[in-house]
Amino acid sequence: MKKINTLFKKSLCKDYRTGCGECQSSCQSACKTSCTVGNQSCKKQERIHKIVKMPE
């Protein structure tokens, strides 16, 4: 692609993510009066959403 720089690709694709329900309930994080699921992580994925600054 010359004109388009794809930064993140198909983050909502189903494949390995099947709704197993093992992930954290979003209200257990910090909302309590809003609802946010986009920042949760998939439990089946080994990578954990970075909650600390990554090393330089």
Binding site: L7, S25, C31, T33, S34, C35, N39, I51
Partner: protein
Amino acid sequence: MVHIFNHNYNGELYNFLWDVESGSLHNVDDAAFLCAKKRYSRTFDTEEEAKFKAIDKELVKQINNEFDLLEKEGSLNAPPQITEFHKDADEVKALCLNVCHDCNMRCSYCFADGGSYHTAERAYMSKEVARKAVDFLIENSGKRKNLEIDFFGGEPLLNLSVIKDTVEYAKQQAKQNGKFFNFTTTTNCVLLDDQTIDYLNKEMCNVVLSLDGREETHNKVRRCLDKNMGYKQILENAKKMKKTRGDKSYYVRGTFTALNLDFSKDILKLNDEGFDQISVEPVVTNIPSLEIKDENIEQIKKEYQTFANEYLNRRQTDKWFNFFHFMNDLETGPCVNKRMTGCGAGTEYLSVSPNGDIFPCHQFVGISEFKIGNVFESIDRQDVRQRFSGVSVLSKPECKECFAKYYCGGGCMANSYKYGKGLDSIYEKGCELTRKRFELSLAINGIEKIMEQKGNG
């Protein structure tokens, strides 16, 4: 559906295409931005039309060829992956235990009415009720291994002995039943002495520390019953908790109201005090002096916009921090199923009042039409649960054309019920601010990725 937007950071305009259904984010130059608007947007003003016409025809062709390729691979203008959805209402994975309907503070915006949940009695959960709640959760968790208990109130630390007993009992039962518990506590920090901090660090996978930011903000709305306990001591307690937290999760969680629409100063104050996991949310209330009014929305959106750039600046320094509503995992986020319904209130997430009554979530506690059972008798109002299981981003017409729908999962059902037109509707002011925060989170993610690419290039 493609959401086309741009963001100005440090004098540079960044153009983005967000593909809603696939969750892909593309960065494009000005020509491709106009071509995308021409191709996907319903709004194309005369100025943009004129600029578009001035683009070299060969270039337009080349850009459209690239759009064709992205469409073919499913990362642009992709169709919805799920068109029918009904959430299973049989299994529970998380309980919010209201261990205490009492509080040592009287915050003017408290949805729980100073902890009492609009009742005359200030009730404390007994060990028996809490243990029974653990049994209920395990019995109703089906195949799910990872379970969660959130200690909530009022101020849960007023009933610390029951928290400790519940944790021990749950761990013991987990072993016998092949389950694993994650515990969370929310606290206003008043009772955080060294011993309690040690205990919470040992047992809680997450701690939510209620703190609003600047001293003047705190003093306007958060009042301690103990006159000797003021902002400075509460802040020190919270800092001590953070300092000893190690690699375990925590959030400082604040609320902004109509009294501090310059709330970015509160967020930055919390960061200046050393906190790096921060959530500050708009109040949801109808108290006239505090509520976010329609006429405040544009100012709040501007405040978020300005804050986003300072956030980007600080994340490149030793003041790096996470702002909860700008955290949006575009690489390993939750599955599409999870995104259809958000928090799971009424289905997989339930709340238990001090006497053991079960409600869809902490915000419904005390509303009798939403009492769905009791931990001693189990669930007797499956019909109420079914009402919740039927609500998703597909069931709400307002969500259909929303580019943020897979971020909020249709929004908070309690807010929709209390301040919207009912469970299966939306809380409009909340949605508008959610969309703004989400768009900014995409821009932040995008700009950080571009900076990373430049750094590596």
